[in-house]
């Protein structure tokens, strides 16, 4: 069977590899922010805050968001590596395998966890943001995000069914 050439696969392959590296670089950047530069004074200057209980709350809130950001790194790594493995199976010409259905299922669950973490960030932002010092971080569950989760769960089922049909076809003489 011949397939029309598509640039999407090589682009996805390279793009995903770059994203995996960028993800870990982001982890390093957050770690540096959290531990190498713990000076509250610097943070206050960068956020244009004057020392006060409110300012301390904002700084701790920002640190909390950074810690949550750190937790998302391995989650994004899991998503990216699973996508890369799936692209690999498409390149090899056999994407309808049960392993891909399992990968999509994992991705969907991770997306749910990410939505929950986004909700926690949104709550923190709401708690620390004041009219004098508004914190503009858009986080929290979104309709698009929830639709994406639904889509990935459905795709996981499609792949499981596809794998079953493929097995049947291979056993047909």
């Amino acid at each position: 069977m011949s397939h029309p050439y598509s640039a999407a696969l090589p682009i996805a392959w390279v793009g995903l590899r770059i994203l995996i590296v960028l993800n870990w670089l982001f982890a390093v950047a957050v770690l540096v922010l959290l531990f190498v530069m713990p000076h509250e004074h610097w943070l206050m200057i960068s956020l244009k805050l004057t020392p006060s209980p409110e300012a301390t709350r904002i700084v701790w809130g920002m640190r909390g968001i950074a810690v949550i950001g750190l937790f998302t790194i391995p989650l994004y790594h899991l998503i990216l590596t699973r996508l890369l493995a799936m692209v690999g199976t498409v390149r090899e010409g056999d994407p309808f395998v049960l392993a891909n259905a399992a990968r999509l299922q994992t991705i969907a669950w991770i997306l749910i966890v990410l939505q929950v973490l986004g909700l926690v960030i949104a709550i923190i932002v709401r708690m620390i943001s004041t009219p004098a010092h508004p914190i503009n971080i858009s986080a929290g569950p979104s309709i698009a995000g929830l639709l994406a989760i639904l889509l990935v769960f459905v795709l996981a089922r499609v792949f499981a069914e596809g794998a079953r049909m493929r097995e049947d076809l291979e056993g047909t003489v």
Partner: protein, 76 residues
């Protein structure tokens, strides 16, 4: 599987080898071997037709349903 493939017996009766049948039917020997050993999950009507033509037989001569095996498979 409760369906028994009796291709071996037929080939023996017709004094034909699997390779000869593969050549006449136009199916790879690997696929015929899968069918002969009962490892196939399905058979196309076109394959059945070609085998029946080559061996001058009816589908019932090639396939047999074993009710006991079906009961065992259900119980398992």
């Amino acid at each position: 599987m409760a369906i028994l493939v009796k291709l071996d017996d037929l080939l023996h009766a017709r004094r034909m080898t699997l390779t000869e049948l593969a050549e006449r039917v136009g199916i790879t020997i690997v696929n015929l071997s899968i069918l002969k050993t009962g490892k196939a999950r399905a058979i196309r009507f076109s394959t059945l037709e070609a085998i029946c033509t080559a061996l001058a037989c009816q589908p019932g001569d090639i396939l047999e349903f074993l009710p006991d095996a079906a009961e065992e498979a259900k119980a398992a």
